[in-house]
Each structure stands twice: as C-alpha cells, then as structure tokens.
C-alpha cells in the first residue's frame, strides 16, 4: 500500500520550546487516518505542518523530513501555493467566505486560473454533490453562504476543498462545532469520498475515529504514542497510555 505522505522525526519548536518531539507517521493513499489524543497533544499542530499552515505563525521552526509523493514539503524549492492545492484543509469552525455558495466553491478553481464557465459549473455541482449538500443548496446557489446552517456551511467548505481536487484533505476537528446530525452527515460523506481522496482527520471524538477511520494515531504530549489499524488500536492497544486514554482514565 502506497503512502502518500511520509514523515520522519518531525520536531516543531515555538521559539525554544519543543512542541512536537519527533513524529514518524505515514498516510496511506485513499485511506482515512484519524489523529486522536487529548487537547494540547500536538495533533492539530502536526496536521498543520502537512500543508505548511504553521508558516503563518511567527517563531515556528520545523525539523525532520516531511514528504508528499516523495518530495520534500519543506524544501526551499517547494511551491507552497501548489502544495496547498494538493493538500486541502477543512477547519474546525465552518469558514465560508461571505460570498454566494457558487463563488465559494468556485473560489479555488478561479484561483487556479480556470476561465471556462461550464467547467466551473460542472465542478461546483460535482463537489457539492460529493459533499452531500447539493440537494440543500441547489436552488439557492446565489445566496450568501453564511445564510445557511453551521452544518451546511461546513459541507460547503468541504465542497470548496473538493473542487480543487486535492490529493489529500486535512480536517481539523471538522465536526466539533456541529450538532450530532450534521456531524453524522459529514462522517457519511467522508466514507463516500474515501476511494477518491486521502483524508487525515483530527478528532476528539473517539467513536467518530472508530467509525470512519482505517488507521488511527494516538498523540500524547507532543509524541506519537501508538499508530496502527483502527481496529487493532481500539481493540488491542499495545501501549498502556493508549489503553488508559481509550478507557477514559485521563484526557
């Protein structure tokens, strides 16, 4: 099974403070990898290394090797803009732009320089269908995206990422601001699209991780404690810390 992203000995420093202590984690193609662990364990920070969003934070240094399709993500030759088109991201809070639904989903396509209106229309429709929100917005594509509910907004944001056709989608607790029904819809759509995309999802919800992910990685205090197939990790954790966390002894 091919790994689309491989990371070796990733360390991240905020100034002098080391926040990630040498992470080795691989993301197999077309699988959902869940990153679990208590707050402050570094899973979101690690996720944001993968599309270089940490570049926006001043004072951050990252060492180690992070490779996408065998190419170094942090090499000086890397085109960050092109990288972020390959590595899409969905945030914790739904963050659609204050434009129409159509303009939101078409945003990335227009950035990529696609002028063909018909192609844009097709892609917008496909993406909204993939994000399981088409039925709810198809009659209101010109309405402001912010006039929809939180769950719908988050699915519009997912459609916005899907439209660019990234290879891997990073999701930073995409359902934690949503009600259970909306969260369930997003879980379903993730299962539907996983044959086309690779997904890395940070979640606090262990049931969610066990329902949707193929592989799970457990983070604690900036270290990767254990990683393995979701079934193995949940049923027979090798480390005591993992078992304690899964059983609710802390976190």
């Amino acid at each position: 099974m091919a790994n689309i992203i491989t990371t070796r000995n990733v360390r991240l420093y905020y100034g002098d403070h080391e926040a990630l202590h040498g992470i080795d984690l691989d993301f197999p193609k077309n699988q959902i990898t869940a990153l679990i662990g208590p707050s402050g364990s570094g899973k979101s920070t690690f996720l944001r290394c993968l599309n270089r969003m940490n570049d926006l934070v001043s004072g951050v240094t990252i060492t180690g090797s992070l490779k996408l399709d065998g190419k170094d993500i942090y090499s000086p030759q890397t085109d960050v803009v092109a990288l972020r088109k390959k590595v899409g991201m969905v945030f914790q809070q739904p963050n659609p732009f204050p434009f129409s639904v159509f303009d939101n989903v078409a945003f990335g396509l227009r950035l990529a320089g696609i002028k063909d209106h018909k192609l844009i229309q097709e892609r917008v429709e496909t993406s909204l269908k993939q994000a399981a929100v088409w039925e709810e917005v198809k009659d209101n594509l010109t309405d402001n995206a912010l006039s929809f509910s939180g769950g719908q907004q988050q699915r519009i944001c997912i459609a916005r990422v899907l439209a660019v056709q990234p290879e891997i989608i990073l999701m930073d607790e995409p359902t934690s601001a949503l009600d259970p029904v909306s969260a369930g819809k997003i879980e379903e759509l993730l299962l539907d699209i996983q044959d086309k995309f690779t997904v890395a999802i940070v979640t606090h919800n262990m049931q969610q991780a066990s329902r949707i992910s193929d592989r799970t990685a457990f983070f604690l205090d900036g270290k990767l404690v254990e990683t393995g197939s979701t079934k193995q990790l949940f049923m027979a954790p090798k480390q005591e810390a993992t078992s304690d966390y899964l059983n609710g002894k802390f976190g």
Partner: protein, 307 residues
Amino acid sequence: MDKIKRQLTSSSKATRQDRIGKLVAFLCTFLIGLLVVSIFYMVASRGLATFFKDHVSLWDFLSHQNWNPSQVGKDGTPEVGALPMIVGSFSVTVLSAILATPFAVSMALFMTEIAPKRGQKVLQPVIELLVGIPSVVYGFVGLTIVVPVVRALGGGTGFGILSGTLVLFVMVLPTITSMYVDSLRSVPGFYREAALALGATRWQSIYKVILRASVPGLLTAIIFGMARAFGEALAVQMVIGNASLLPHDLISPASTLTSVLTTGIGNTVMGTLPNNALWSLALILLLMSLAFNLLVRVIGSKGRLTK
C-alpha cells in the same frame, strides 16, 4: 405586622437606584433628541421662508445660476440661483473622495495586511494627527502652497475647485483611512487562513477575499469622508475663490454652499430675503448630511446581511 407589610410593599434600594438611573438616561436622551429636532426646526423654518414668505420658486432656487440675493433680476424675482454652489459643493466632494479612496485603500491595506506592526506604530499616530489638525490650518497651508502651485501649473488665479479638491483630499484621507482600517480589522482572520489553505497567494487572499469582504465597510468610509468634505467650510472657503459662478473648469474661482454661508451670514439682516436665502442653503446642507447618514445606514444593514 405593619412594619413587615411596609417592608414588603415599599420598593428596595436597588429598585430606586434603577429608577433614578433610567430617569437620568431618559432625560439625557430626550434632551439630545430635542436638540436635533430644534436644529431641524430652526433651519427649516428660516430656509423654507425663502419659498413661502418671499415666494421664490423652489425650482428657480435650485436651477438658476445667478446668486445676488439683494438684487432683483430682470424678470422681477430676486436673484437667488443656488446652482453654482450646489455644483461646487458636489464637485469638490466627489473629486476629493475619488482622489482619496485609492490612497486610503493602500494605506489601510499597508497598516492591516502588509506591515501591521510598523503600520500600527508609525501610520496610526500620523493619521490621528491629521484628523486633529484644525481646518483653518489646512486652509492656510492650501492658501500659501496649493493655490500658488495650481496657479503656476494651471494658470489663472489658482483659486478654484482644483485647489479645494486638493485641500479636501488631505482632510478626508485620514477619515476614510481610519474607518477602512477598522473595517479591515473586523474581517475575520479565518477568511485569510481559508484562502491561503486553498492555494491563494498572499496578494490573492487580500484582493479576492479581504477586499471583497470589506466592500460595505469601504463604502461607509467613503461616504463618511464625503460627508466631511461636503460640510467643510473654512478650509474650502480660503482656497476656492468665492465667486458665485457656475464653474466651467477646475481652476477658475467658484464657491460651495458652505463657503457662501460663511462669507455671507454676517452681512445680512435677519428676516430679510438675503438672510433667508442663506438659510435655504443651510437647509440643503442639512438634508444632504441626512442623506449621507441614511446611505451609511442602508449600506450598514446590507453589510450585516452579507456577513
């Protein structure tokens, strides 16, 4: 028994304080409201006297070009054509806003997006200082620098709409900039993050997302700037030339509603037609600032809907 009853039925200290607070707040609000209403009444009653008491037709007032209220024209009606001043006021207002907007947008972007730290340290105090300079100083600088430069470059006397526009440009620039800075700061940071995560460059995220999201704020800022330009009297009066003629170009002397008001109001007798005609000009000014305010509100409520 009686004592308990009294205690239970009389209001507590907190309730009494609450009542007093409400009363004071209500009185203050009422006073301010009364003030606004009486200003409107005052200006309207005098300003409308031109039309009702002196029987000048409103259309003539707005469309005629001769302003000489103490004289009677050939057709037997007083010469109170306010068109030159109306055109003058609108010209300097619109031109200075058009001139100032690109500068204000660049400065605001520099302060919020490009160099927030330096912008905060250097430009913020500069802008606050510019707002605080009294208008007579602007007028004086305009008179001693702008007017001679315009005279040297464009010919004529140097007084006129161009000089007025240039002086107003400096005066409305800080207004538009500081208001637009506030509106840019209120654009949530996650729009920027989302745009970058989709593969936008920094510049693309600024002009495709942040500028677009802040358009209502920009319009509000421009209108506030225009309201300031429209109402500015002293500085404009010093550089525009004060000739009540319909302006044919930008470098010949002209006048605005405010400049005619400040020059004329001391030289007329209360209750006479020349005085009433000036009040009518003031009424136009007041209605225009009301219109600017309404426009800001309309844009504001539209902006909220799209947020």
